[in-house]
């Protein structure tokens, strides 16, 4: 049932400017024309606007304003990312659900997305503010077979490049704070939390958790965050259709991931450095002690490359950086 509906949405969305005849749909899906008609009624119920013209066929003219698995998959042009998609109106955290599903063998590319998270998670269980319907909060389950666990951390930079390109496409110039936070004018726009389950030489699964601030107004954020975070709407003045933003980001995540797996980190590194926030500036860095160093780029494996006052370079894999 569900997969027929997904296919139906796909077929119609590929021909959004023309009509697709009931006969052609029925052939392609291998179901009767009356079954097609039933599906159309179901789609209308969840908010699709469907035009049906005698002798011509069907056409989708509008997608639901509410997010649903259907609206998120309608118009999604990816090959594997989001083909299996679970939408929740409210959930504790898409990461928690991701762990559960991954342990139950959910396939590579599964997306868990929620309108609202009651326990949105940040790094080290810091809370991530995920306000109802104003942003995109989702987790992607990844099962790379050819990637070694020790190289998996490069995925966090891969995801950041995909996010930057998405925002640029939507008209906003943004920067990446090493390794993977996306900033606009010094305010945080997205956060990524990546978790891995792996053995010494094999990755079981990776959860790429992404939070994107899209349609929030400044007053939607808790007071203590207002001077630190921002949203696409605050930055551009325009509200965005969340499903559309999801399609854009999903497509780029898939593209960058495929490039990374096929060609390695080098093409990603070049793109990452083009968008690096505060490149060639002096920063305060804390590992065990705090010190000042110049941020000169990233190493071949994504590590932060810094330079001291004598020009001596060090690569860091893990550090608190005060930007």
């Amino acid at each position: 049932m569900e997969s027929n509906r997904t296919k139906l949405i796909e077929l119609l969305s590929n021909h959004s400017d023309t009509y697709v005849s009931g006969e052609s749909l029925s052939k392609q899906l291998g179901i009767s024309r009356s079954a097609i008609w039933k599906h159309m009624n179901e789609l209308k119920k969840v908010g699709y606007q469907i035009e049906a013209v005698r002798n011509k066929g069907y056409r989708i003219t509008g997608v639901p304003s509410e997010l649903s698995a259907s609206s998120l998959q309608w118009g999604l042009s990816t090959n594997w990312l989001g083909k299996n998609l679970i939408h929740h109106k409210s959930i504790d955290s898409t990461q928690f659900s991701g762990h559960d599903l991954a342990r139950e063998d959910a396939p590579h590319g599964t997306v868990i997305i929620a309108d609202h998270q009651t326990k949105g998670r940040g790094r080290l269980k810091r809370q991530w503010h995920s306000e109802d319907k104003h942003g995109l909060w989702f987790t992607v389950i990844l099962r790379p077979t050819s990637l070694e666990p020790k190289d998996a951390n490069q995925l966090t930079l891969v995801a950041a490049v995909a996010l930057v390109e998405t925002f640029r496409h939507l008209g906003l110039d943004v920067k990446i704070k090493w390794p993977n936070d996306v900033f606009s004018r010094g305010f945080k726009l997205t956060g990524i939390l990546t978790e891995m389950q792996a053995e010494q030489d094999q990755i079981e699964y990776i959860l790429l958790g992404i939070g994107m601030n899209i349609n929030q107004e400044r007053e939607h954020f808790p007071e203590e965050l207002r001077d630190k975070v921002t949203s696409l709407k605050i930055e551009t003045g325009k509200a965005n259709d969340l499903a559309h933003v999801f399609h854009e980001v999903a497509q780029r995540l898939e593209e960058k991931y495929d490039t990374f797996i096929k060609e390695g980190f080098q093409p990603i590194k070049r793109e990452w450095e083009q968008h690096a926030y505060r490149l060639n500036e002096w920063l305060t860095i804390k590992t065990k002690d705090s010190f000042q160093a110049k941020f000169v780029g990233i190493q071949h494996d994504g590590a932060l490359l810094i330079e001291d006052e004598y020009g001596k370079q060090t690569a860091l894999y893990s550090a608190e950086i005060y930007w």
Partner: protein, 172 residues
Amino acid sequence: MLKVQEIRELIKLIDESSITEFKYETDNAEVHLKKGTGEAPAAPTAQPSVVQPTEQSAPASTSEKPEAASQPEKTAEKPAEKQEEAVDTPTDYDHEITSPMVGTFYASPSPDEDPYVKTGDRVEGNSVVCIVEAMKLFNEIEAEVNGEIVEILVEDGELVEYGQPLFRIKKA
């Protein structure tokens, strides 16, 4: 500068080899290892002020013992806070959990929570024992075997290397 763990590895390797003496020097540190001959251990050669007390780790215990004559001698110049050191002895463990990547070792899920495991805890194959983080990728490390944690080799917040032992387990 050599890490405690690297010194441990060195001692182990030297102990198994025919090398009797080993010296390593960088700008600010010097490590001098000398193997006992079965007689009285040779006296440390570095300046007295920087001689490290030699401590021997016993199974599930941190108590110091007099050094056995057959143990390798070790002298290391290290910062004062790095006093914790152990000569590799056949402690009672049969499994080591090693780090799958370079990163920061976290003993607990978040700074204000209890550590995942303590020495003496029983663990199962899928028990999470720590997190190693690098470049914001958080890797929950599982015990992989059933048994008891007999030694925790790193501290919360410490940087760890690829393949570095983190825990020792006595299998059940």
